[in-house]
Subunit: 125 residues, 2 copies
Amino acid sequence: MVEHNAARLDDTFHALADPTRRAMLRSLSLHERSVGELAAPFQMSLAAASKHIKVLERAGLVRREVKGRTHVCRLDAAPLSDIQEWLRYYEQFWGERLDMLEALLRADTPTPPSAPTPRKKGRLR
Amino acid sequence: MVEHNAARLDDTFHALADPTRRAMLRSLSLHERSVGELAAPFQMSLAAASKHIKVLERAGLVRREVKGRTHVCRLDAAPLSDIQEWLRYYEQFWGERLDMLEALLRADTPTPPSAPTPRKKGRLR
DNA sequence: GTTATGTTCAACCATGGGGTTGAATATAGA
DNA sequence: TCTATATTCAACCCCATGGTTGAACATAAC
């Protein structure tokens, strides 16, 4: 129940905390791409893009196959699934919030705002 | 459809890319906590813990209410919901991967899929 | 008022991140 | 073989991050 693979989560979250890298993932979700192709949309050196790709690889989000002189990169979404798993625990909290909203919308009697609605374990989704 | 609030995602992902901060979130998911209570489990200075909390606040994951001399922190899971939203796009890929696996397991024969037949040397891709 | 408690602030340090450039490596093609 | 293409490597720069310490601030308690 406690975070088992913390370092893994560290790497994945860190990899995602950069717009360039997220854009690369998005690109890879359409086609597999060479390093050069991945780097093309960004105005940064190829070396810089290469570093980004390495960060994605370290997080397990990208796999690389060397084909002659070009390196072909493919998306591997598995770590994203791990993140979603991690997030699942917190779903109850926005679920709970939605329940409170629902309760507010449903309350035709104007309850004073100083009295917060007691949290009740609500149904999720 | 394109990432609208990239900076927001940056902050949230970055906040989550640290085990101390994730542990703090987990703690806040149980009770609201003062800064001191949040810091207690970790062997780092209070100042360091305070910085972590600030990172969480910057990402909108924690809200703080100053009550006398103690600062009470509460979880706000909304940014996590944004992340889940961002992840949703990629669900197709682990879904797709499962589909491909299923297809591989099922489609060893050139005959229609209804025939459960012994295997044949399958070329991948 | 004085003291104790809860928290931040400021300065500092070490490390790593994201960027650059220029050279090195490996392969494809003439 | 010679050259062009694809990519990495190494060195460097600047700045953010995560940690420290000691002082400052605000409030509670005596």
